[in-house]
């Protein structure tokens, strides 16, 4: 009976009022006065279990629930979200500002907030925070000397309007998405066309692009905004991570390792997309259902299916919209023709018989020996090489003859026919002005070795234990089922429709993960720690929010009031009294909250690797403010099987060396040792938050590296002629004048050892490297 009813009930929908009415009338008479369960926060699954079955346990007093009542409870339980905080709807609350929430929590613990930091501290804090640079002496003085009300707010607005803001905050974004400019692994080839994406991020932030649009462009800009070259560049996001050159380009089709390479490549994209935008560890469900969060393994593979039709490759675009439009039309036709041509080419490529196998072995043998020999060193070697080359030519000719006999003439005729269709398309493409390129998510590109475009989404299956040899049921493009949000792409949808649907799903108004995730990230970079400490993990293995009401309030405010404006969010945060607090230690508060989770003071922060380098350049008077363009190779480069990246040999005054650190060319396999020692993260890992270490090796880098020593010399030259060189150096490096005692002692050192050595000391000072 219940089973039958359940079939009907499955179509029903329970309103909150209906549920409440049943709980009140059938449960409250007993439970309102007990602790068995909280009627104001009931657990639907538990209640359903209690009222179900042939002999329901509940209600104890009175008859069982009517079928109608039961169906309401059943529908309610079925639709209920898990009880975990991050899946709950965003809650509005009575509070209406950051400081109200923070102070309310502090008050409850009996902690008073700290007083506001002095102006000198504030301008240094704010400039490092929003620009990743120290303020110049002129900027400090202008702020100190501005007596009018609103001086701080004007400073905030000026900093947010300056282009250095985008350069600073883009670097945070690039950490989160593990952006790198070489492939990683063996054969770590440089990606010469990754940088347009980096510039896209900088420009999007500087233009204060609404967050939802920023997200959509990066996942599916080419699909949702096909006319826009900018949106195409945005899909560089999908190609940000590492890529196994050998697995993709050298391995044969149809092998285990080839399939595994592709599966892991999609895994990298899924992990990046879901961690970045929703702070959920969907990638934990690759081998089994998520152990802690409501993410079945099927959801994970549905997400893989979203990206089953793309690879990572250089993609053309044009600044001229008309040319770009024409190019896209031609490429679409080319792709369609290629789709018909490929099966015929495959027939020829895969043709085989014992003689072909033997010839292949012989051809390969010759190739191996020729390669291994390199340039012949003796006449005998030269003769041997010539013999091998002649044999290889003969073998190849013979092979072609056999293939021609094996493959029917109609295949060759068909190939010729389709190739004839391709020719005018290729000619038209060649007639267009040369395109620009961006390394991006790509569903069509020129074949290179065994790396060829998918043409159709590749089939994706649920893999038992993540093993490509244990393929189970097929996956359909989709997202996390737990949120019950629409995912528009239907079964068998095109490649583009899949990504477009995911972009819409992530930016849906009701996607509570998305809105919480972004405001938490922004908060983290301002304060050093997020309201949720684990900014990539809002699940059960992550941290719970320190200020849950504030987090929800911010998310709603950002979504509805600020309409996704990151600049407004920054402004809201940095103008709060909470942000403006002094970072000074207070023993009585530390006794209650040693880690400052409740924000009774501001956190003192170590300047990160890029900002250290940029601050030295700025102090030395060398910082080149040029924006954008190809990345600067701050190493000596030698292309090879595995290219050589030599940082030690790079002179600190080389062309481009004075550019901001965000324009460094970022190599995966060989990190810049100087930046590495300052905790610049491995670009192969998603880094939601950098670690901050303090080591002897780091001290050695700051003390001895050629860059530091050279900048110290430039710094010395810059202040040399000033009437008070030590005072000026203090202003540039530390943003304050020295005390009389400091000035005296340092003058003695400068007399003895010169200004360059003094600059070296300043660059190593804790006061230079920490922001109060």
């Amino acid at each position: 009976m219940r089973l039958l009813l359940a079939l009907f009930a499955a179509a029903t929908w329970a309103s909150e009022a209906e549920v409440q009415a049943i709980l009140r009338s059938r449960c409250a008479s007993c439970h309102a006065s007990t602790n068995h369960f909280a009627l104001d926060d009931p657990d639907p699954a538990k209640i359903l279990a209690a009222v179900s079955g042939p002999k329901p346990r509940m209600p104890k007093a009175g008859p069982p629930l009517t079928n109608g009542e039961w169906a309401v409870i059943e529908a309610w339980a079925r639709d209920a979200r898990p009880k975990w905080w991050s899946f709950q709807p965003l809650r509005t609350s009575a509070g209406h500002g950051i400081d109200e929430f923070v102070r309310g929590t502090l008050q409850a613990k009996g902690i008073a907030p700290s007083k506001e930091a002095d102006r000198r501290t504030l301008v240094r804090r704010l400039t490092f925070d929003l620009h990743g640079l120290p303020p110049t002496p002129a900027q400090i003085r202008a702020f100190l000397d501005d007596p009018a009300p609103g001086a701080y707010e004007r400073l905030v607005d000026r900093l947010l309007a300056a282009p250095q803001y985008g350069e600073r905050w883009a670097r945070h974004w690039l950490d989160v998405i593990h952006y790198g400019e070489s492939h990683g692994y063996d054969k770590d080839k440089p990606r010469l066309n990754a940088w347009p994406y980096r510039d896209y991020v900088i420009q999007s932030l500087n233009h204060d692009k609404p967050y939802a649009l920023f997200v959509k462009e990066q996942i599916a800009g080419d699909v949702l905004y096909p006319e826009s070259a900018e949106a195409k560049i945005a899909t560089g996001f999908l190609a940000a991570g590492p890529w196994d050159f050998v697995g993709h380009q050298e391995l044969k089709e149809g092998t285990f390792d080839k399939d595994n390479t592709r599966t892991l490549d999609r895994d990298d994209v899924v992990a990046q997309v879901m961690s970045t935008f929703t702070s959920v560890t969907a990638h934990c469900a690759r081998c089994h259902d998520h152990k802690f969060d409501p993410i079945p393994q099927k959801d994970y593979y549905n997400l893989q299916a979203v990206f089953a039709g793309i690879d990572r490759a250089d993609q053309p675009f044009d600044d001229d919209p008309a040319v770009y439009s024409r190019r896209r039309a031609l490429l679409a036709r080319k792709r369609e023709v290629q789709r018909r041509l490929q099966p015929l080419l495959d027939q020829v490529e895969r043709a085989s018989n014992p003689e072909i196998v033997a010839l292949d072995i012989s051809i390969q043998d010759a190739s191996l020996l020729i390669t291994h020999m390199g340039t012949p060193k003796t006449p005998a070697e030269a003769e041997e090489k010539a013999r091998l080359e002649a044999r290889r030519i003969a073998d190849r000719k013979r092979r072609e003859e056999i293939v021609n006999t094996l493959i029917g003439a109609e295949v060759f005729a068909g190939t010729d026919r389709i190739k004839a269709e391709m020719a005018p398309i290729d000619a038209a493409l060649a007639a267009l002005p040369a395109p620009r390129l961006v390394y991006a998510g790509a569903n069509f590109f020129q074949r290179a070795g065994n790396f060829r475009p998918p043409l159709e989404p590749r089939p994706v299956h649920v893999l038992a234990r993540g093993n490509v040899r244990a393929a189970g049921e097929p996956a359909q493009a989709g997202a996390l089922s737990v949120l019950r949000l629409p995912f528009s792409a239907s079964d068998g949808a095109s490649e583009g429709a899949r990504r477009g649907s995911l972009a819409e799903w992530i930016t849906h108004r009701e996607n509570v993960l998305t809105w919480r995730s972004v405001v938490n990230r922004v908060w983290q970079y301002h304060f050093g720690t997020g309201l949720v400490e684990s900014s990539n993990d809002f699940g059960r293995m992550g941290a719970k929010p320190s200020h849950p009401e504030l987090l929800d309030w911010l998310a709603l405010w950002f979504r509805d009031e600020a309409r996704g404006s990151l600049k407004q969010l920054h402004r809201l945060i940095v103008t709060s009294a909470t942000y403006r607090q002094s970072s000074a230690h207070r023993e009585e508060a530390a006794k209650i909250d040693a880690d400052n989770k409740l924000l009774w003071r501001m956190n003192r922060m170590r300047v990160d690797a890029e900002a250290v380098r940029d601050a030295m350049l700025l102090a030395a008077g060398k910082l080149d403010p040029a924006m954008g363009g190809p990345s600067v190779r701050m190493f000596l480069f030698k292309d090879d099987h595995s290219p050589v990246y030599d940082y030690a040999g790079f002179a600190p005054d080389s062309p481009g060396a004075y550019r901001r650190s965000i324009y460094r060319f970022i190599v995966r396999s060989v990190p810049d040792p100087f930046m590495d020692r300052l905790d610049c993260p491995d670009p192969s890992i998603l880094t939601p938050k950098r670690s901050t270490t303090i080591t002897a090796i780091q001290a050695l880098a700051l003390w001895n590296n050629a860059f530091v020593l050279r900048m110290a010399e430039h710094f010395a030259e810059r202040v040399q002629g000033a009437p008070q060189p030590i005072e000026l150096a203090y202003w540039h490096a530390l943003g304050r004048p020295p005390s009389p005692g400091e000035a005296n002692r340092h003058a003695a050192y400068v007399r003895e050892h010169g200004l360059a050595n003094f600059a070296r000391v300043l660059f190593n000072a804790n006061e230079f490297l920490f922001v109060d």
Binding site: G184, Y185, D186, D188, P242, D244, F245, V246, E250, L251, F256, D257, S275, T281, C287, D360, L368, L369, H372, S534, M541, A584, H585, E587, H641, S642, V644, A648, V670, D676, R677, D679, D682, S684, I685, L686, S691, T692, I694, T695, A696, I697, A699, L700, W703, N704, L709, E713, E742, H746, Y749, H753, G754, A756, N757, F758, R760, V761, N764, A765
Partner: protein, 452 residues
Amino acid sequence: MRRRDLFFGTALAHTLSLDAAPHHPPRAKRVIQFFMSGAASQCDTFDYKPKLIQMAGRNWDPGEKVELFQSNPGVVMPSPWAWKQYGQCGKWVSDLFRHTAGHADEIAFIASMQSKSNIHGPATFMQNTGFILPGFPSAGAWVSYGLGRLSENLPEYVVLPDPRGMPPNGPANWGSGFLPAAHQATAIRAGTPAPIHDLHAATGYAHVTPASEKAGLGLLAEMNRAHLDSRAGDSRLEARIASYEMAARLQFSAPEVLELGGESKATRALYGVDDEITRDMGQRCLVGRRLLERGVRFVQIWSGADNGFPRRNWDSHENLAKDHGELATAIDKPIAGLIADLKARGLLDDTIVFWTTEFGRMPCSQGSKGRDHNPFGFTSWLAGGGIRGGVTYGATDEWSYKAIDKPVYCYDVHATLLHLLGLDHTRLTYRHNGIDRRLTDVHGAVLPEIIG
């Protein structure tokens, strides 16, 4: 157990504290690992199969479709080297490693190794980090994280790359992944003008003099202390002051470690330091011993660079006899010398010598003279601290093609290594992006058969 996951704890632990507590009493204190980059062949070194000699030149048919990395399977190819039995245990070893084989009774050979990838990059990551993806901490980094320092003056984890160049994946092989950067290896390029990056002031900066350095560090300490005085309660600021003191000790200690002039003639001969062919590896092995003696936890020495041409690593697709021959000749005597020297100095009892590669090679030929990749069976070996010598664990089939008896992945070897160092591989964890990560992922079992 989660170790030092607090921010300040990490900062301080690595400047101030020594020797964190292990999980259980350790059998070994330190490790020296040899990595054969490019995949050293098992069936030409430690995995003796008479069948390859018997069936030489015949078509190879292991009874199933063989999926090779580059090629179609060629004919059965016996090793170009002769095989002999060594030691009490009677282990068969080819002439390639005749010196190392002299220590067969000290060595546990794991003949049933497997890899989850047959591509160099991912497979090299796997043997180093337990994962075929980039971004994970290497075994040495985990040991550093789990055990801390033995020395006040030297880093806990040192790598000596092959002077011919970087292996596939580059320094990412000895990186700290998501562990704090303090746990990554310090690379020492022995025999070059600046063996440790930035150990001393870069050359060509005239303003730097010994006097300016000394006085400058004094001034810096003074400034940092004054800065700290008004900023109580921030241990990072103290840690930075301490880090310069430690840096000074490192500057003093490191050149001493690399200076081999004081080693006796007999020792130099033992390592082959004065023979052109073995000089490089001999020097690196000797530096390795000196590092271990002075408290470095984990030393990793590479044989072979990347997989390019002319061949400079073990990836002998084309001409195995030539390439494996040259590589092995250059390292066999030095490695054997190191084992003998460690033993003579009483260090072998608590030092693990660990020899590995990313995968094996096929028993059939590739072309006429080479061998293709074989992820299904290869050999690693361990000797020293807590290891039972003279055993061969597991076995490949009659062809040396697939591990069939007690097959293992690196997980079990890593678990055993950590176990001997006093660490439970299931408890040595670090939370990253929602997962309590381990060196052994969700796998691994200690191999009691190779423990003495």
